[in-house]
């Protein structure tokens, strides 16, 4: 007789800020994106000033508007960073120059992300309320990204360049880390095409893993799993890509049509529901990515249950959630994201790795500062949902080329944050098992060739 289902850990979904409200949607078609930046500055500016008082000293800096700055006077200004990268692709440029395919085709087999070529003419600018100024000095292209809110201590030079002596980022809010016991499993990137031969290894690996989760015993060594978090994309995104090449092909009507989305969705539904029915699995959280059957604008809403009817019938065991997805288990705050934000940021630097970007996101206190610059975002007016209101204890980023684990200390606090970069399951057949007692990770590979 099957035991009645119940979670072993106290679970709380804290992703409310990622859900679009009626007020957000009202008038969105006519809204411009500058309102997001205004909301971002409004929310982060007090935290920047708070951190400046802690770092520089209370009363030891003069905070003024850039328009009121005087030459060679040390002042503290706040604004949004803009990185001017010449080699950054632009859809408008490629269409104006009548290049149907302006860039080389992205090779999906390559693990590395294609990065923009650097140039000596690349520069960093700061956009404040009324003016924009170029930044030089104690700031480099590796320190920031377009869309970051920052406080800058320095002097305005003669040539209209602001010489930076110190950068101040927003203060982090961290809740106290609680100790608990249990196991969480994270999987990302199924990329099912609907073709059984093409998806053979992925389906076999996932079924093999779910069978392994169904047994308990010394021979098996599978612990009791409280939650399996499955991060998208679940369906193959070759035809639904939002990269520059896909958009150019769409606009020039040269994109080939694909037929895989319906079959792959049925397969995803069956796989997820079969995992949720296993004895050792309590709940499966399904968080989408760009390319899945939901809006592709960040923050992504949950996949509608009509798209996954079997999961929809199993509401207690399958949880359709947003992307990013934040939840608490016994006081431990965990955030997962599908990784497009990190991938886009990787393109802007030759030195960053996935873990570097995640640690920067914690430093910048923003999940995706490149929204809406290089990442599609919903035009919200009064708030920016991607601001880190509370720094999580664990951040899991899916669909990364390299598997990485890093622990960083959160600036200004005594707590640490565990950063995990998860590779695609479709390429590696690797899942991440997180032991909550000591926040230790186990990478597990399920290789089933038959």
């Amino acid at each position: 007789m099957a035991a009645p289902w119940s979670n072993t850990l106290n679970y709380k979904n804290v992703s409310d800020r990622y859900i679009l409200t009626e007020e957000d949607k009202k008038g969105a078609f006519a809204r411009q994106y500058f309102e997001i930046y205004e909301a971002r500055v409004k929310e982060l500016k007090p935290r920047i000033l708070e951190n400046a008082e802690r770092v520089i000293g209370k009363g030891k800096f003069k905070h003024v508007l850039l328009s009121d700055a005087k030459q060679d006077e040390e002042i503290f200004i706040t604004g949004v960073i803009v990185k001017r990268v010449l080699a950054r692709p632009s859809i408008l440029k490629s269409l104006l120059s009548e290049d149907k395919v302006a860039y080389d085709d992205v090779d999906d087999e390559e693990d590395d992300v294609k990065r923009y070529a650097g140039s000596s003419e690349d520069r960093i600018e700061l956009e404040s309320e009324k003016q924009t100024v170029r930044l030089e000095g104690a700031i480099s292209m590796e320190d920031c990204a377009t869309g970051c809110c920052v406080g800058v201590l320095g002097k305005l030079g003669k040539e209209g360049v602001f010489h930076v002596s110190r950068l101040v980022w927003p203060a982090a809010n961290v809740t106290k880390k609680a100790t608990t016991e249990g196991t969480l499993v994270f999987i990302s990137g199924l990329d099912l095409s609907g073709d059984t031969e093409q998806d053979r290894l992925t389906i076999s690996g996932l079924e093999f893993m779910s069978d392994w989760m169904n047994t308990n015993g010394e021979e098996n060594q599978c612990p009791s799993i409280d939650r399996v978090v499955m991060i998208g994309p679940f369906v193959e995104t070759k035809s639904n890509g939002c990269d520059v090449q896909s958009v150019v092909r769409t606009l020039t009507l040269s994109r080939p049509e694909r037929q895989s989305s319906a079959k792959s969705l049925i397969t995803v539904d069956k796989l997820i529901s079969s995992i949720s029915e296993k004895l050792l699995v309590n709940t499966v959280d399904v968080t989408p990515a760009v390319g899945d059957p939901c809006s592709s604008m960040w923050p992504l809403p949950p996949i509608h249950r009509v798209c996954l009817p079997r999961c929809g019938m199993n509401e207690k065991k399958v949880n359709l959630v947003t992307n990013p997805y934040e939840f608490e288990v016994d006081g431990l705050r965990i955030m997962t994201m599908s990784g497009e934000n990190v991938t886009e940021l990787l393109r802007t630097s030759h030195k960053w790795s996935g873990a570097d970007v995640l640690s920067n996101l914690v430093k910048w206190q923003h999940i995706a500062p490149n929204c809406p610059d290089t990442l599609d975002a919903f035009p919200i007016a009064d708030r920016d949902p991607l601001v880190m209101s509370s720094t999580p204890h664990v951040i899991i980023c899916g669909n990364q080329p390299q598997a990485e684990v890093r622990r960083i200390s959160v600036d200004g606090t005594d707590t640490s944050c565990l950063l995990v970069c998860l590779p695609k399951f479709s390429k590696t057949r690797v899942a991440c098992f997180l032991d909550l007692s000591d926040l230790s990770l186990k990478w597990q590979n399920f290789d089933h060739q038959f």
Partner: protein, 382 residues
């Protein structure tokens, strides 16, 4: 064991330990031991796949950082078991995974139909708590739907009139027999126009040919078509006296672009040829059908006649419309084309504007495009 051998003797496709345990209501341990005994007893031609779990170095995995350990679970045939174990730094467990009678390289252990919804037959999603607005929409939709058929006959008749009117703008040479009736109708129309007071009439009369001839051809053409249909049955009625003069033909040609006119003529001829083919098969039914549009048309004509002549003249106008279509070479071509568009006769009559009916898509009823299977086809199957 004997009962299990009967079950296992029938096994051809891959049978996993998990499935066998479910079928025979055994625990996993007992299921594994039963299968192992069976494999030992039968040996060939039964294939056994074993599951090996252990710790492996990250050298095999380029995406892992150097020195990282990974727990690997692999399924291998019995013949490769020893070699596989040597590749592990530490073997944690080895057990039977599945058995089959076919070569594992040619079959799939987890092979089943993934992309169908057979298991969903008879099942429905549980009802979600929805706000009241969504509950009201189906009623509104029903009301709107019920309203639609009432509108349909009038719209269909007007649309028929419009299409007929459009067709009638370019008269093919073969239909010259009916144009003689146009002259009689013109005289009637001219009399009616003379009765109207506005002083611009003479100008209009002089300018009628480029503009009003198009308008005027509609009215008589409607009547002409009523007469055409009986004439279709007896083509012998066509006579040379009904042939139009060359002047009228040339004027018509000057109005519209020649390329389009040819196409329309071809289309009209094809459609009319189709009509002719249909006529001898079922004449009686067509007579009834003809009577119905006749009545509708006569009613329309009465309505139009009751209208002011100015309004009648303004029933159609030439508008530039952008048409887009896919070329033979596959290029998307957009052309600006002059088309005769009827101004809505409803403007004269005090009718309420049509409410925009927005119907919620009904699951399963969405149209499935023939070429590519999209998410809508998924709804239909469910």
């Amino acid at each position: 064991m004997e009962s299990y051998t009967k079950i296992l003797d029938d096994v051809c496709d891959p049978l996993t330990v998990h499935k066998f345990a479910e079928m025979s209501s055994l625990s996993r341990k007992d299921a594994i031991s039963a299968l192992e005994k069976y494999v030992e007893a039968k040996q060939e031609p039964v294939w056994a796949l074993y599951e090996v779990s252990g710790v492996v170095d990250s050298n095999e995995y380029p995406f892992l950082p150097a020195g990282e350990k990974i727990l690997k679970h692999v399924v291998v045939p019995g013949s490769a078991l020893d070699e596989t174990k040597k590749a592990f730094e530490e073997v944690i467990s080895t057990c039977l995974h599945s058995i089959q009678r076919t070569n594992p390289k040619e079959t799939r252990v987890y092979g089943r139909s993934w992309a169908d919804n057979d298991d969903l037959k008879g099942k429905t999603l549980p009802v979600q708590v929805k706000p009241k607005k969504t509950v009201e929409t189906p009623i509104e939709v029903r009301k709107e739907k019920s309203a639609e058929p009432e509108q349909k006959p009038s719209t269909s008749s007007t649309s028929n009139a419009k299409t007929d009117a459009k067709k009638s703008t370019i008269v093919p040479l073969k239909k010259q027999a009916n144009i003689s009736s146009m002259f009689s109708k013109k005289k009637v129309a001219e009399k009616e126009k003379l009765e109207s007071p506005p002083p611009a009439e003479p100008e209009k009369k002089t300018r009628k040919r480029p503009k009003t001839e198009i308008d005027e051809t509609e009215e008589p053409m409607e009547v002409v078509e009523e007469e055409r249909t009986p004439e279709k049955k007896t083509p012998s009625r066509h006579s040379d006296d009904d042939l139009p003069s060359s002047r009228e033909q040339s004027v018509e040609k000057e109005k519209s672009p020649p390329a389009k006119r040819q196409k329309k003529a071809v289309n009209d001829e094809n459609k009319k040829a189709k009509r002719r083919l249909i006529v001898p098969e079922s004449d009686e039914e067509e007579e009834e059908e003809i009577k119905k549009p006749k009545n509708a048309r006569t009613e329309l004509n009465k309505e139009e006649k009751s209208m002011k002549p100015e309004e009648r003249r303004r029933t159609t106008r030439i508008e530039k419309v952008v048409e887009t279509y896919v070329d033979e070479d596959g290029y998307l071509v957009s052309k600006e084309v002059q088309k005769a568009v009827e101004c809505s006769p409803q403007k004269a009559s005090p009718e309420k504007p049509k409410a925009k009916v927005i119907t919620a898509p009904i699951p399963g009823a969405a149209k499935v495009p023939k070429k590519n299977a999209t998410i809508t086809s998924f709804f239909k199957k469910a």
